[in-house]
């Protein structure tokens, strides 16, 4: 008999399970789906920055042949506000607060007819004073963005307790505040030999998912709603949609077709989604609503723009003493996840390095600008840009090598930070050293600094930055868990039914891999079902780099239960103790010798077709051992923390201001590499997303209007511009992680802008405090300096 050795898939290069369908064009995205009898929805947007709605006349649009419904807020008096602060009615009633605001919607038999109908809707506005500078938002004479309660028909119905419309309005423009303190900043400052202060300005960028936003909504004859949706959080949405629509959540089903990119953009409910449901309800037909690319730029969320004042101090020997942050977050007209990025920003401020005294204060203020959602990194790109710029500034002022300065203040395993984060594993120091070695950081930095004053048009520089991010989920909701149902068929194949959504990041492949590891099966024996709330168990959603960690532990839990059941049955049949048995290559084998004893499929059939007749089906719910923050923002919110350091090398053309990214050398504490191909893909893609944030991308907003809603004018990085990269994995084998792994999805994008700022300074001696580093900005900065 053939001996079967134990094999592992962990750390191998595994092709994604969904790649063959995608590479051959067979994958059906939301844009490719059509339901019989489907109508097409379109939205009329205000085009006004801030105005009162005086009159809407839809009669001409309704009369257009092929139009099935034209709706305005008056047709849905029961609509409820959406968004993080519930301050946003899907269809606006009496006031518009930004040009993207939804006024009316049409359902028609074709997109062309729907578009033509929009042009027939007459709206009369009265313009209001506009507020577009967030620094003006709290001035006593600033225009108010949400002065009155808003809701149904502008009437008073919504003011009754328990009534559907709940937003009470605000007497100021303050959307949200965050205030965190640790230690005593004044004492820290008194202890400091060096204090530096700067104000950093972080700009608008947007997700640019290649597949634009879209949804199909359909009611069945019993009033059950099915949404084909690109959401990243189907179970949270089920509940929230129920609240918004006044429906029983049990009647809402969300099916997620494959998604053309997420990156955090699909974490909130946006007006187009309930509007599509209103249209489906009004017409009794399935309605499909898909954005144009221009609409995607105008009406999907952005990354949070921030004005951040940072004051940092240290002693002469390089020990950090304090850090004080004040930010103004431009909240835009409505509140989505962008306003809550301080949750992550303050972690970087307080805990990336050891700093005894810390304060963090954010005011998120309403304006008539676009509003920000969540975006890969969730505030951490912004916070890291400021903190790591200051680390270099302080090191240089003290004459200490910036790598040594960081190592001196870096966290170690076992640290519990004043914010309450517990670093059970922490590879920061190893990341710093590895990245510096890969990028030849210290030698190059000295050499390039020496060349700054030499003649020559092209200057090179290297910059270093590190990051800390949640790597074991984030306990923001009552549960941060994920459920799994695992069933085996009569032939030994597995169906893994998981709550964890696939958004292109490769989660279904890594989950299948983890199951194979427990059950000794080839990948081809596992099918993953992950996109239908009617079938899959609950999961909190794809965010916070959590899916491999949380979904992975859940899948392992279910697989271990199946394994135990199989080995118990095999023990009875073979007469050997279960501990002496193993599962390998679809066989039950003797653990020590690898001798095959019987086939897994046969064993399962013998269980099924026996007197006791049973199937191998298991379930598992994994809840990470993390904690909610208290009201002071203290608490160990993640079951593990991810670390990374990156060295960026740039070339600056001092005559044009153009900055070229030559090389990125990264070291990432990922816990453990599970799928090498997948994790490389996450890191490479994250680096280039960070490159775009640092150098090329900017959503230009002037007086509340987006001026560049097209790829022609919004510059994504293209293939010829990508840098050389070198990546090293630091495997700290986290005790709670699935096979030791931590989350990695957001990490690689976080440090690039900060490291690039430091590299430009090394090349030119000029520190730039605002992003992106466009040729014009760099050129001006170089000229001002001289």
């Amino acid at each position: 008999m053939q001996i079967i050795a134990r094999e592992t898939l962990i750390g191998k290069r595994i092709a994604k399970l969904d790649a063959p369908e995608k590479a051959s064009g067979k994958t059906r995205y939301i844009h490719d789906l059509d339901l019989p009898g489907q109508l097409y929805g379109k939205i009329l947007r205000s085009g006004r920055v801030h105005a009162k709605i005086l009159r809407i006349d839809t009669s001409k649009a309704k009369a257009l042949p092929g139009v099935h419904a034209v709706i305005t807020a008056a047709d849905v008096p029961w609509q409820r506000p959406i968004g993080v602060a519930r301050d946003h009615l899907p269809l606006k009633t009496d006031r518009v607060r930004s040009p993207r605001d939804e006024i009316a919607a049409v359902a028609a038999q074709s997109e062309e007819i729907a578009q033509a109908a929009l042009r027939l809707i007459e709206v009369e506005y009265e313009d209001l004073p506009v507020l577009t500078d967030p620094l003006d938002a709290l001035a006593p004479d600033a225009p108010l963005i949400h002065p009155e309660p808003h809701g149904a028909d502008g009437g008073t119905e919504h003011l009754k307790p328990g009534a559907p419309v709940a937003y009470s309005g605000r007497p100021d423009n303050l959307a949200m505040t965050f205030d965190y303190e640790q230690g005593d900043v004044a004492r820290g400052e008194a202890d400091s030999d060096l204090v530096v202060e700067d104000t950093f300005r972080l700009h608008y960028v947007t997700h640019c998912c290649m597949g634009v936003s879209g949804i199909i909504a359909e009611f069945d004859s019993s009033g059950n709603l099915t949404m084909y949706s690109n959401t990243q959080v189907p179970f949270l949405h089920k509940r929230e949609f129920a609240e918004i629509l006044g429906m029983d959540p049990a009647r809402i089903r969300i099916i997620q077709p494959p998604i053309g990119g997420g990156f955090g953009s699909k974490l909130d409910i946006y007006p187009f989604e309930p509007i599509c449901v209103f249209l489906a309800r009004a017409t009794g037909r399935p309605v499909k609503l898909v954005f144009s690319r221009e609409e995607e730029f105008l009406a999907s969320p952005t990354r949070q723009p921030v004005i951040l004042k940072l004051r940092s101090g240290c002693r002469r020997d390089g020990t950090l003493t304090f850090r004080a942050v004040e930010t103004i977050h431009d909240n835009g007209a409505y509140t989505s996840w962008g306003a809550t990025t301080p949750f992550v920003m303050m972690q970087t401020v307080s805990s990336l390095y050891r700093v005894p005294h810390c304060s963090y204060h954010t005011k998120a203020v309403y304006t008539n600008n676009p509003y920000a959602g969540s975006f890969r990194g969730y505030g951490n790109l912004q916070a890291t840009f400021a903190v790591e710029s200051h680390m270099d500034r302080m090191a240089d002022a003290l004459g200490i090598d910036p790598l040594e300065f960081r190592l001196k203040n870096a966290q170690d395993p076992g640290e519990v930070t004043p914010q309450g984060m517990q670093f059970k594993t922490c590879g920061l120091k190893e990341c710093l050293k590895s990245a510096a070695e890969l990028g030849d950081y210290q030698a190059k930095r000295r050499a390039y600094a020496a060349l700054q004053a030499e003649p020559g048009r092209f200057k090179r520089g290297v910059g270093l930055a590190s990051m800390l991010h949640v790597g074991g989920g984030a306990k923001i909701y009552p549960s941060d868990g994920c459920g799994t149902i695992l069933k085996m068929d009569d032939f030994g194949a597995v169906t893994l039914i998981t709550g964890a959504s696939e958004i292109g990041q490769g989660s279904e492949t890594v989950l299948a891999q983890l199951v194979c590891e427990e059950l000794g099966l080839p990948l081809s024996a596992v099918r993953v079902v992950n996109n239908d709330t009617e079938i899959t168990p609950w999961d909190v959603g794809v965010h916070a780099s959590r899916t491999t960690f949380i979904g992975g532990n859940s899948a392992i839990g279910a697989a271990r239960k199946a394994r135990a059941k199989i080995l118990d049955a095999a023990a009875k049949q073979t007469g050997l103790p279960a501990q002496a048995l193993d599962l390998r290559a679809g066989q039950i084998v003797e653990e020590r010798s690898g001798n095959p004893l019987l086939s897994l499929a046969k064993l399962i059939r013998s269980l099924h077709f026996s007197d006791k007749a049973e199937l191998v089906m298991t379930t598992h719910y994994y809840e990470p051992p993390s904690h909610h923050q208290d009201r002071q923002f203290k608490g160990d919110v993640s079951a593990a923390y991810a670390w990374a350091s990156q060295v960026v090398e740039v070339e600056v053309d001092t005559e044009t201001g153009a900055v070229r990214l030559l090389k990125v050398s990264g070291a990432h504490d990922v816990g453990r590499v599970l799928n090498r191909l997948g994790i490389e893909g996450q890191i490479e893609g994250g680096i280039v997303m960070g490159q775009g944030y640092a150098l090329t991308e900017e959503l230009i907003v002037e007086q509340g209007r987006i001026r560049n809603p097209a790829f022609r004018d919004y510059k994504l990085v293209t293939a010829p511009e990508i840098p050389e990269i070198a990546v090293r994995f630091v495997e700290t084998l986290d005790g709670e992680g699935p096979q030791g792994a931590k989350g990695v999805g957001e990490a690689p994008a976080i440090c690039i802008a900060a490291a690039t700022a430091n590299a430009i300074e090394n090349a030119t001696g000029v520190r730039i405090l605002a992003l992106p580093f466009t040729p014009e900005k760099v050129y001006r900065a170089l000229r001002e300096e001289r």
């Binding site: 590479a23 064009g25 290649m210 292109g504 997948g678 490479e684 893609g685 680096i687 280039v688």
Partner: protein, 157 residues
């Protein structure tokens, strides 16, 4: 609505006729009239390359081409590439190299890679990067796409 005109062309090797209105794009003809959804609409403005197809052997942004201009031409979409040995090799290489994440840009990338490797069977890395500069990808950072095209070129030996 403008009057429609009947056109004849070859689609993935199959002689095809369709009745099209003058404003219809080749992309809408392929996706909406003929029901082949592998070719993607990413921007509709010729900026992203998701809608790339081959027209008489050369890559074209089908969103910028009028359907009427397909008259008498030979169109190949991602669905037709699998039958072609080079197309199949490229698709395989994209899978193996990890060049696919969300996958939305992938069909256009594969078609563009086919165009590149037909004209330059042994491209340098620089030529590959130039060759796909009109195709945007938001997930991968292009590294593994370039590697996949190198791999497909190597497999031609």
């Amino acid at each position: 609505m403008s009057p429609k005109r009947e056109i004849a062309f070859t689609l993935n090797g199959v002689p095809t006729r369709a009745s099209v209105s003058p404003e219809l794009s080749a992309l809408a003809l392929i996706r909406e009239v003929l029901g082949l959804t592998g070719t993607k609409l990413g921007c509709g403005e010729g900026e992203c390359g998701a809608c790339t197809i081959l027209v008489d052997g050369r890559s074209v942004n089908s969103c910028l081409m009028f359907a009427l201009d397909c008259e008498g031409r030979s169109l190949v979409t991602i669905e037709g590439l699998a039958a072609d040995p080079l197309g199949a090799r490229i698709e395989q290489a994209f899978v193996e190299a990890g060049a696919v994440q969300c996958g939305f840009c992938t069909p256009g990338m594969v078609v563009q890679a086919h165009n590149l490797l037909t004209a330059h069977p042994h491209p340098t890395r620089e030529q590959i990067r130039r060759g796909i500069e009109g195709n945007l990808c938001r997930c991968t950072g292009y590294f593994k796409i370039v590697e996949a095209i190198e791999r497909a070129a190597g497999a031609q030996e």
